[in-house]
Symmetry: C2
Subunit: 341 residues, 2 copies
C-alpha cells in the first residue's frame, strides 16, 4: 500500500509500505476513506520534536472495515468507522471513568500505525472504533474525520473547562482545535464565547462556530482584555489550544479564581511556574483527549447535521500530494489539510 | 498590645504594637484567645521568602469580638469567632462560587494584620468571621484554631482531590496540613487513605486520623509504591501538602489518569514541566484554601466532638515565648506550635 513517511524535518514522502495484517484477535484492518494532517504533525516537520528514523505519519482516520480478528464483536466487515487517535480497550477502570486516552492499553496511533495511508491495523478495535449508523454521504466525511481528533480534542477542552449555560468561555488559539472548542462551547450552551484571534479568516470561522467576541491582544494585554470583558473577574472557562509558554500563561491569567482551564495544546517545553498557578486558584484538566468518550455523541450530531466541523479543512489533496499538504500547513496557507485516499 | 514581629530570618521578637482600631464600618476588633505558627511562617524565618522590613506575624486566629463597625451584622461584641486566613466579603460572585480566597476584596491576614498578638482588626468581619454556637470549652480552642487554616486547608485539599466513598486517597506530606487532609479524607468517606511519611510519630498521628496505609518511599520510588498498591493505576485522589519540586512531581505521578490532585503546599520556586502534566491527564486544583467556605461545617463538627484536629498542636507556649516556638518548628521538634495569649 501507499503511505506517508517522514524522513527528516521538511522531508515527507509517499512510499510503498507493507500492507497491515491482523496480529491480535482484537485487531481490525480498515481501508481509509480519508486522513489528515494534525497540528502536532508539524512538531517533527519543523524539527521541534526529534524523529527516530523514518516515521509513518497520521493518526486521524475514517474508513471501511476490511477484516476483523476473531474476538472483534462491535464492528464488522463493511462498517464505516471513526476511531480515536489513541487506542483504548474501553473496558478498563480508567476507560470506564471516561479517560480512554489513559487506558491501560493506551497506544498512540501516531507512534506506530500511521493513518496517512491506504490501510491501517487498529488494535483493540472494539474499544477504539465506532461505526456510523450507515454508509455516510461523501459530504459528511470531512466532519466524521474531524471527530477522530480535532473535534474530539476541542470538545474535550470545552468539557474540561466546564463550558456550559451561563458561562463565559475564552478560547486561546484560533487553529483547528481552538475553532472546534468554540463549536463545542456553543453546543454545550455557553452564554458568551470569546475567541482570542488576530487572523481575519479565522475570526470569521470562529464567529461561524459561535464566538460572540473576538480579542486580538495576546499575553498580559490579552489577559487584561478578558478581565475587562468579565467585570474584572476573568472567564469562568478557558481553553488553551496552542501549547506555547505564552499561550499557557495567558490562559491561566484569563481564568477567574475557582474557574476551569482545559488545556489541549501539545505543550513541549512549557514550564509552568508553580507559585503563579497556586496563586491563580483554578481548576485545570488537560492532556491527550479521551476522544473515544465523545465519539458516539459526536457522530450522531454530525449524522443529524447539527454540527459542521468539516469546515476546518480548507485544503483537500490526494494522498500522493502529502508533501504539498505539509508545506501548506507549515506556511499557514492552510488551517487543516484533508487527504483523500 | 504585645505582638510577634519578625525582623530578619531567625530573628523573632515579641514587641509592643499599636492597638488596632476600627477603620472601616465593616471591621471588627477581636481579642485573641489563641494563635499559632504556620508552616508558611517558616519561609521567611528560613530566609526563603524575603522580608520587607520588620513584619507582624500570624494569620490563624480565634478570639472574642471586642468591637464592631457600624455595618457589621453577623457577629457581635462578646461572640467567640473563628476567622479565615484570607479576608473575604463572602458576597461577591467569586465568594458565592465557594472561592473566598480569591474574593474581589481578598487580603492575606499574614500580609498586614499579624494575629500572633493580643488583638487584631479583621476587615469584612461579616464575610470573614464565623461565630461558634456559644463560648467554647477551653479544650475545644486548639481545634477551633486549627479550623482557621491548617484544618481548613487540609479539608480543601481533600475536597479538591475529590476524596470520597470508594476512593483511594494518597497524601504527600505528613506535616500538619497533610495530617488534616487525612482527617478530611476520612470524614469525606474515602475507602483507603495512604499517608506518605517516614517519621514514626507522624505515621502514628496519620493512623489516628484515618490513614489505612503508610508509604515511606519518596520521589519515583514513592510513585512506584502507590502504583503497586493501586493495581498499577495510581490513586484516584492525591493531596500535595509540602510545596517542593519533588513532592509536587511525586503527587502528579501518583495520580491515575483522569484522577484529581489537590495541592496546597505553598510552592515557591516549583516549576512544573508542562508536558509531563499534559501526559499525566489529571485534574488539578490548588492554591490558598477558601477556608471560609468550610468554616461553618468544620466548627459544627468540632463543637459536636466528631473531629479532633487540635491534636496537631504538639507544643503550647505563651505568646512571650514566640521565639522558642519558631525555633522548635524550624528544628522539627514540634509539628505545630500554639500560642496562648
Amino acid at each position: 500500500m501507499r503511505g506517508v513517511v517522514m524522513h527528516a524535518p521538511g522531508d515527507v514522502r509517499v512510499e510503498r509500505r507493507e500492507d497491515p495484517q491482523i496480529i491480535e484477535p482484537t485487531d481490525a484492518i480498515i481501508r481509509l476513506s480519508a486522513s489528515c494532517i494534525c497540528g502536532s504533525d508539524l512538531w517533527p516537520y519543523r524539527g521541534v520534536e526529534k524523529l527516530d528514523g523514518p516515521s509513518p505519519m497520521g493518526h486521524e482516520y475514517v474508513g471501511v472495515v476490511e477484516q476483523v480478528g476473531d474476538q472483534v464483536k462491535n464492528v464488522k466487515v463493511g462498517d464505516f468507522v471513526v476511531g480515536s487517535f489513541v487506542i483504548s480497550d474501553n473496558t478498563c477502570e480508567i476507560c470506564q471513568a471516561g479517560f480512554q486516552s489513559k487506558c491501560v492499553h493506551a497506544e498512540f496511533v501516531a507512534a506506530t500505525i500511521g493513518t496517512q495511508a491506504e490501510k491501517a491495523r487498529i488494535p483493540h478495535a472494539d474499544g477504539t472504533l465506532v461505526a456510523t449508523p450507515g454508509q455516510p454521504d461523501p459530504e459528511l466525511i470531512p466532519s466524521l474525520l474531524a471527530a477522530s481528533d480535532v473535534l474530539g480534542t476541542g470538545w474535550f477542552a470545552a468539557v474540561a473547562a466546564e463550558a456550559g449555560p451561563g458561562k463565559t468561555v475564552a478560547v486561546v488559539g484560533d487553529g483547528a482545535v481552538g475553532l472546534m472548542a468554540i463549536l463545542a462551547a456553543k453546543q454545550l450552551g455557553a452564554e458568551r464565547i470569546i475567541a482570542m484571534s488576530r487572523h481575519a479568516d479565522r475570526q470569521a470561522l470562529a464567529r461561524f462556530y459561535g464566538a460572540t467576541d473576538i480579542v486580538e491582544e495576546r499575553g498580559d494585554d490579552g489577559v487584561a482584555k478578558i478581565k475587562e470583558l468579565t467585570g474584572g473577574l476573568g472567564a469562568h472557562s478557558v481553553v488553551e489550544a496552542v501549547g506555547t509558554q505564552e499561550a499557557f500563561m495567558q490562559a491561566v491569567g484569563a481564568t477567574r479564581g475557582g474557574g476551569h482551564l482545559g488545556y489541549v495544546g501539545v505543550n513541549y517545553g512549557v514550564t509552568i511556574p508553580g507559585f503563579d498557578l497556586f496563586l491563580a486558584g483554578i481548576h485545570t484538566l488537560g492532556g491527550p483527549a479521551p476522544v473515544r468518550r465523545f465519539l458516539p455523541d459526536l457522530i450522531q450530531l454530525i449524522w443529524d447535521r447539527k454540527i459542521d466541523p468539516g469546515k476546518v479543512f480548507d485544503l483537500e489533496l490526494p494522498l500522493d500530494q502529502a508533501a504539498e499538504g505539509y508545506q501548506a500547513m507549515h506556511e499557514r496557507r492552510a488551517t487543516k489539510v484533508l487527504f483523500t485516499v
